[in-house]
């Protein structure tokens, strides 16, 4: 993945950590202590570096695919069909991290460095 080094560098800069700490499989929230402002920062830096637009909620929308919101989540909990969709979309995330009864609000905790690489590549292809 040719863009990986730059994405890792951007994530390290945004989080103020060493690049060595940023691994392809690192969960930005669980492993690197990222917060919502950091996600905004990282996406902004990626947009400027790679000249792409990554709209808010785009990853969730793509993960949901053809499922309606109700089919994807019920009362804030991802449905069985939704879990299957997430596992198919977030192939870089070990399947055992995407557990049944996952809360929709916790989906960003699954996002890894590689997830952001994929976001950039998708937008580059779509541009």
């Amino acid at each position: 993945m040719a863009i990986y080094p730059k994405v890792a560098e951007i994530i390290a800069d945004a989080l103020g950590c060493d690049e060595e700490e940023v691994q392809p499989e690192s969960s930005l929230i669980n492993d690197l202590d990222a917060e919502s402002i950091d996600f905004l920062d990282i996406v902004f830096r990626l947009e400027r570096e790679f000249k792409v637009k990554i709209p808010r909620g785009k990853a969730m929308e793509e993960a949901r695919g053809e499922l309606t919101e109700d089919e994807f989540e019920q009362k804030g909990v991802v449905t069985e069909a939704g879990i299957a969709k997430l596992r198919a979309y977030l192939t870089e995330v070990p399947a055992d991290r995407i557990k049944p009864a996952l809360k929709a609000a916790e989906i960003p905790k699954l996002f890894t460095t590689e997830t952001f690489c994929k976001m950039v590549i998708r937008e580059q292809k779509g541009a």
Binding site: G16, E35, I37, L40, D41, R48
Partner: protein
């Protein structure tokens, strides 16, 4: 008299707004105020960008302070000066405003901002949308009556510990009441990030002075990697820590962080240089 658009508003007139792309305007620093720190010049640029971004989203959202990649302190200002303001927006949508900007006095750059990003929040939770629309119309036509600003108190952190010349720890109690809370923001008062910036500059200056020869004076060159992670409401208590990161004879770089309990609420790097007599 209401403090709205008086106690913490730093744009008098918008000359031209290519909405969501580029905006120019000005602000006259009242001659009667005691001082006008450069952090408020940065605030002035940010407010100018905010007007353009709010107009771009139909005043449904407003930006709040979030990230500044680089704040360069290139000059000085004094009461009575007029700031010529300019901001170039690279993003202005319901998610955030991203911009670079500059403030000049008599054609000379005094503050330059780069890679700034302000998250958008629902405007209605912080202010009255109709008042803001009306104010925008005023700023883009006749301009506001200048000299409404009466100054802000100077804030200091109470030092609680540290290693002289290397680290400094302190506490800052955000006041329960202040005039600027009526303007920032009327429906949800928040301690302005640029006042925290000024507090951090003072705290860092004190740390660097501790390690000096007692004669040299230092000035702030820039702040970088400024990130505000949460709102600071009236009455909140913040813990400050400043740590020297790099130092040579003429320059010192310091990391300054604030926390509420264990939670990191803001961070920034500050570069100081020795003033050559």
């Amino acid at each position: 008299m209401t403090e709205h658009f008086r106690a913490f508003s730093f744009v008098d007139k918008i000359h031209r707004d290519e909405t969501g792309e580029r905006i120019t305007g000005c602000y006259h620093i009242p001659a009667a105020v005691d001082c006008f720190p450069l952090s408020l010049v940065a605030e002035s640029i940010g407010q100018l960008a905010a007007w353009s971004s709010m107009a771009a989203v139909g005043f449904e959202f407003r930006p709040v302070a979030g990230i500044a990649g680089q704040v360069e302190f290139a000059g000085v200002v004094k009461p009575g000066d007029t700031l010529e303001l300019e901001a170039t927006l690279v993003k202005a949508d319901s998610e955030a405003v991203g911009y670079d900007g500059v403030a000049r006095v008599n054609g000379e750059v005094v503050v330059r901002l780069q890679d700034c990003l302000g998250p958008m929040v629902p405007l209605i939770e912080f202010d009255d949308p109709e008042s803001l629309k009306e104010r925008y119309r005023l700023l883009t036509s006749d301009g506001a009556v200048p000299d409404a600003f009466q100054g802000v108190p100077e804030f200091f952190a109470e030092k609680t510990g540290g290693v002289p010349g290397e680290t400094s720890e302190g506490t800052f109690h955000i006041p329960e009441t202040a005039a600027f809370f009526g303007d920032h923001f009327p429906r949800r008062p928040v301690f302005p990030g640029t006042l925290l910036m000024n507090l951090n500059l003072g705290f860092t200056m004190d740390l660097v002075a501790e390690a000096g020869d007692g004669i040299s004076k230092w000035k702030a060159v820039s702040m970088s990697d400024v990130k505000l992670r949460s709102f600071m409401p009236p009455g909140e208590i913040l813990e400050l820590k400043a740590t020297v990161e790099e130092r040579d004879l003429d320059r010192v770089r310091v990391i300054v962080e604030t926390r509420k309990g264990k939670r990191l609420t803001s961070s920034a790097r500050i570069l100081l240089s020795r003033i050559v007599p």
